[in-house]
């Protein structure tokens, strides 16, 4: 989960408190840093923000941040606390935006246990919703894009518009023996498009390939291992292409176009 507070000391304390409740915490000191963190990890389970992020009396920029997160990333559970904003004011200002908030006059420490449980429950529910949505999306993808009938560049181009939704994809393509994994391209470069990878368990090993790019494949003993190898391969090809002004044709050209569009966003993020 992400904790946002403009005061370093508060951030450290909140982080410690929540980690003591077995929550994994990353922190941000500003609105822009928070948005960047979520962009880099759209699967973020929850956001807890201070309401007063501007160090000015009466400021409620935490509410604005929460609205922005909600508008951009949908159903991330949002939580808030404030040492300056009264309960009534916060209720009016936020209007149901936060699943739970701790206003002025209530000690954070005393609410911590309940808050941590609520965050955990909300995260689990969100994951469950994502899983159900993923099943539906994947079933749709299997019908529309059978693996045998891939036109590599075209398929990838058509799949990319799904990328934001595809960030939720976790479930397996059991019927086809595959499951679709998403490599968040923040591994390569922040805000790049995600990469969809088919992964299939074979007799003795795991195999993975980038959807629509048959030359990008890897084998390994575990899912993590195989995806790590695939990422390394893509990163290396990306480096080759980045440092190369040579001519490309056929599958090599498709690979180059795919990598430039998907990974090397320095050339223009579409």
């Amino acid at each position: 989960m992400l904790v946002v507070d403009d005061e370093n000391r508060n951030l450290s304390i909140r982080k410690q408190q929540l980690e003591a409740k077995n929550l994994e915490v990353v922190v941000a000191e500003s609105e822009s840093a928070a948005m960047h963190q979520i962009e880099a990890s759209p699967e973020m389970d929850a956001v807890l923000t201070d309401i007063n992020l501007a160090d000015e009396p009466g400021d409620t920029s935490g509410v604005k941040l929460a609205r922005k997160i909600q508008a951009r990333f949908g159903d991330i559970p949002l939580f808030a606390y404030s040492a300056t904003v009264e309960e009534q004011e916060l209720r009016e200002e936020a209007r149901g935006l936060f699943m739970r908030s701790i206003p002025k006059g209530i000690k954070f420490d005393e609410e911590l246990r309940d808050l941590a449980e609520t965050i955990r429950d909300a995260s689990l529910q969100r994951r469950q919703r994502r899983r159900v949505r993923s099943d539906e999306q994947l079933a749709d993808l299997v019908v529309r894009y059978p693996l045998e009938a891939i036109d590599a560049a075209e398929t990838v181009r058509r799949l990319l518009p799904h990328a934001r939704d595809a960030a939720d994809i976790e479930a397996s393509l059991k019927a086809a023996g595959y499951h679709l994994e998403l490599i968040h391209s923040s591994i390569f470069q922040p805000s790049a498009n995600p990469v969809l990878v088919w992964v299939k368990e074979l007799d003795e090993e795991i195999e993975a390939e980038v959807y629509g790019q048959p030359s990008l494949y890897a084998h390994g003993e575990s899912g993590d291992d195989v995806v790590a190898k695939l990422i390394e391969l893509m990163r290396l090809f990306a480096e080759d292409i980045r440092h190369d002004d040579g001519e490309y044709a056929g599958p090599a050209l498709h690979l180059r176009e795919f990598i430039e569009r998907t990974i090397l966003v320095a050339h223009g993020n579409n």
Binding site: D240, G246, A252
Partner: protein
């Protein structure tokens, strides 16, 4: 069909693929007259590669499995390989028949 890293290396050499090595992979492009045509790679390791790899390796070279077996057995030369690619329209036949200085 099995494929060892040694055999994959020989194929890279035969096709004059400029191999770049890294921790897990050896990679490169099949290049004809300066134009990169096929991205290819194999994994480092001493053992035979898994049974599915030869099929994928063959596919990445735009060869059927029986053609790939020929390439592996050394009965297919680099010229014959590019002759097959020319027949498939990947490069022009004219460019194969003349010296390697012309672009396909």
């Amino acid at each position: 069909m099995q494929l060892t890293t040694r055999e994959a290396e020989r194929i890279f050499n035969k096709l004059e693929v400029e191999a770049i090595r890294s921790t897990h992979h050896v990679r490169g492009f099949v290049t004809y007259n300066g134009v990169r045509l096929f991205p290819v790679h194999y994994s480092n390791g001493r053992k035979d590669m898994p049974g599915h790899v030869p099929k994928r390796f063959a596919k990445s070279l735009n060869l059927a499995l029986d053609e790939f077996a020929e390439l592996k057995r050394c009965t297919m030369s680099r010229e014959k390989y590019f002759g097959i690619q020319a027949e498939r329209g990947v490069i022009s036949l004219e460019a194969v028949e003349v010296s390697g200085e012309q672009r396909p």
